[in-house]
């Protein structure tokens, strides 16, 4: 493990220590600390955590949220990347589909929750749909922007060397857009987690689509367990971090030329 890793660990330890001290003593150097006194100290959170990890419900929440995030995220990639590329390379396609896209884009995904609860047959599908929307717009905008700003010299050079339209797309536009695809993916992944948690809180733990980390937090709030709320929040933080790392890793493997610095 290198210095960067240990610096990161040290920073985490210091942050947890400050949190512990802050919430235990509620004041520092004689000054009353704002809000931290009301947050349960990490030692209590760890205790609460140690308890929930033995319960199947907690892991079920992880599983459900992760499932929804991945379903929405992957669907958004599958639809969003080709859609963004089509917008970028075909003028007529852009003329037709970009205006409606731009009108729908400012609608926050959460504003879709009531409508999708009505239109989709199951709660599960409506959560997946809203999650999909969360990532979709970001992915499309990134792919479109990336593909439209490819250096025209690459296209011209390839054309000189006898590239067909097919070649231009597969050999220049696609690899040239790759960095933007991954930027879109990591931003989109963040939004997906925001959306899934909110959607889980709103749709609640009904019989159809219960659970999820969002619902876990909501449930802890209803049950008045502050420690468990924090457990849920940190769980989402860890889950989001793992997802972002996975995307970084895949980007690293897919774009060897970006590994230079």
């Amino acid at each position: 493990m290198n210095a960067v890793f240990w610096r990161g660990i040290l920073a985490l330890i210091v942050a947890v220590l400050l949190w512990e001290l802050g919430s235990r003593f509620k004041q520092m150097f004689g000054v009353q600390l704002p809000w931290i006194g009301m947050v349960p100290p990490p030692s209590n959170v760890v205790q609460a955590w140690a308890k929930v990890v033995t319960e199947a419900g907690y892991w079920q929440s992880w599983y459900l949220s992760l499932n929804r995030v991945l379903a929405g995220f992957i669907a958004a990639q599958i639809v969003g990347i080709p859609f963004g590329l089509a917008l970028a390379v075909n003028r007529y396609f852009r003329d037709i589909f970009f205006p409606p896209f731009e009108i729908l884009r400012p609608i926050p995904p959460l504003a879709w929750v009531p409508a999708s609860l009505i239109f989709w047959p199951t709660n599960e599908m409506s959560i997946a749909f809203v999650t999909f929307l969360g990532a979709f717009y970001t992915i499309v905008i990134n792919v479109l922007g990336g593909a439209r700003t490819i250096n025209v010299q690459y296209l011209r050079a390839a054309q000189s060397m006898g590239a067909t339209q097919w070649h231009l797309f597969w050999k220049i536009i696609l690899p040239g857009t790759m960095p933007s695809i991954f930027t879109g993916a990591s931003v989109g992944m963040g939004i997906t987690w925001e959306v899934v948690v909110a959607a889980e809180m709103i749709s609640g733990g009904g019989t159809q689509a219960g659970g999820g980390l969002g619902f876990f937090i909501w449930n802890s709030y209803m049950g008045g367990s502050l420690e468990q709320i924090v457990v849920g929040m940190i769980s989402i933080g860890i889950a989001g971090y793992l997802c972002a790392s996975a995307i970084r890793y895949i980007g690293f493997a897919a774009m060897p030329w970006r590994r230079l610095f």
Binding site: N151, R156, A157, A158, M161, K171, P256
Partner: protein, 289 residues
Amino acid sequence: MNMTSPATGLGAIPRVNVEIRGLSKAYGEAWHRQQIIADLDLDVSAGQLTVVIGPSGCGKSTLVGLIAGFEKPDTGEIKIDGVPVGGPGNDRMVVFQETALMPWLTVRQNVSFGPRLRGDMDRAVLKAETDRLIEKVGLREFKDKYPLQLSGGMQRRAELARAMMNQPKLMIMDEPFRGLDAMSRELMQEFFLKLFEENRRTNLFVTSEIDEAIFLADRLVVLSNRPATVRRVIPIELPRPRTYGMLGSAQAYEYKREALDILHQEAMKSFKKGGGQSDFLEAYAKRVQ
């Protein structure tokens, strides 16, 4: 002299003539229409290094785009050995102002890009030829590196190798050494000249540097301010192989003075013509076209 060894199975480089007659090109619509090239006649003779020099922004790059076939002229004709240019083709290779190496391909993949795309070269020949050209431009140790890992001068050499790999009949160089530091620029000019003198592939070299122009050229074509036309053609009769020292000779000085006189006149014209506002409008017209 033939650059390709018989072992590679590649033929000699045909020498082509380029004939440009009455070429005109304008950009933009209606009131912000800008004439970039007007009634330009130019010959690029077979086996010669023709250098085009002109004030900055005079339309040199547009001329390159037209000859390469990236753009179509409004009027006039460009013929290569009597055949009109219809679009881009691998008989003409452009080395661009900024590097056009694909950043996602290694040096080797970049150099072999054209033949791999077209599938017109036997695998063994492709590999041998790629390695030979990379060796020739002195990048053997860097062939598996990505362009961003190379210095500016190395990138230019990789790009020269990529162009040569396609066996073009005409090389078009659009200010290829611009942006390099003075030292690498001089080295690249000498290196490029050595390559040229080896096989005398017909070459059109565009620059805005007078010393570079005289050092390289068989014929120096001085363009007017925009819209670009040919103001004068100066045959440069310095002996070959050239050395940098020749630029100090009285003859070279004469060439330089003659060319600079015209360039100065042209620069003054544009200075008188344009205030800040019209410059802005021109820039705007270029953006919106």
